[in-house]
Symmetry: C2
Subunit: 153 residues, 2 copies
DNA sequence: CCGATTTAGATGCATTTGCATCTATCGACC
DNA sequence: GGTCGATAGATGCAAATGCATCTAAATCGG
């Protein structure tokens, strides 16, 4: 019998999460140190990135908030900063008088692409040597499954 | 030929990291919302937890800093806050006049245990239903491997 | 042994963050 | 249609954070 199967389910879940979290901290540390993030904090980049991936180009503030680990008020001000810097645009949502829509400006799109290129290289340089392609695919699958299960609502 | 193997290595690494990061955000959101973290921010709990796991009981500030995603100065002040609340103790390091050693007080240990119990339950409630035991073990293995590879310096 | 460099941690200060609250709109229900 | 609770986002304010810098101690090179 493999040793680990003697663990309790609760303990296994806790250790798994702890390990995932620490790996995230270790990788993020390195990524944040990249010169690209002198110009734009990682959270700010992340908002630009999320907008760039959105098919319609427009996202609601509260949709953005699902992706980023920030409170609603902090995100509201983050977007305000991005708008002041000319990287995003805000418009009142046409179908919902309470909401706003946000999208990249051309400048925002350019900056996202520029930082993104370097960011992707940094990621590959960290993750590539650490895990085989098959392991990466498995890690991708497991984290997608975890996210999906946790995000049900 | 499986579809995913047509991806470039760089793209695979980027997608893997993105997925890991989003999963972490989704889980962390839920965990942070737990009532236990009204009393103590998650970063603060994390420091208490790390100290509780340390065999000697004492840790240097810069050792703590490897575990937490905080700048050195922020961690310094976080520990200062914990000390003010009577949860940790600081002593000058005996072997290095520049350094300090930190350990839990009894109150700190008690609070860590109390929050920890609830925290572990919350983790299990989120992760347990999302992945089978075998999947959790594999996720644990992969994230440990990733962390180890990234942390070499 | 001495000066130069590096390392550990603290601190001043501006920025960012979160909590609580506020306003306005939406949706449900009668 | 009018009232009531829920939801989207903004804002005042106190607390936390990061950057740059500072001090002191360790380490290195001669």
């Amino acid at each position: 019998m493999p040793a680990k199967t003697t663990e309790s389910p609760v303990r296994l879940a806790a250790e798994t999460w702890e390990s995932l979290f620490r790996a995230q901290v270790a990788v993020m540390r390195k990524l944040q140190a990249a010169p690209a993030f002198k110009a734009l904090a990682l959270n700010e980049y992340d908002v630009l990135f999320t907008l760039s991936r959105c098919p319609s180009g427009w996202l609601r503030l509260n949709e953005l908030n699902d992706n980023v680990l920030l409170s609603q008020s902090s995100l509201s001000r983050l977007v305000e900063r991005l708008e002041k810097r000319g990287l995003v645009e805000r418009t009142p949502a046409p179908e919902d008088g309470r909401g706003i829509l946000i999208r990249l400006t051309d400048a925002g799109r350019d900056l996202q692409k520029q930082i993104g290129r370097e960011h992707v290289r940094d990621i590959a340089a960290l993750v590539g040597p650490a895990l085989s392609a098959a392991e990466q695919q498995e890690l991708l699958r497991l984290t997608e499954k975890l996210r999906a299960a946790v995000s049900v609502r």
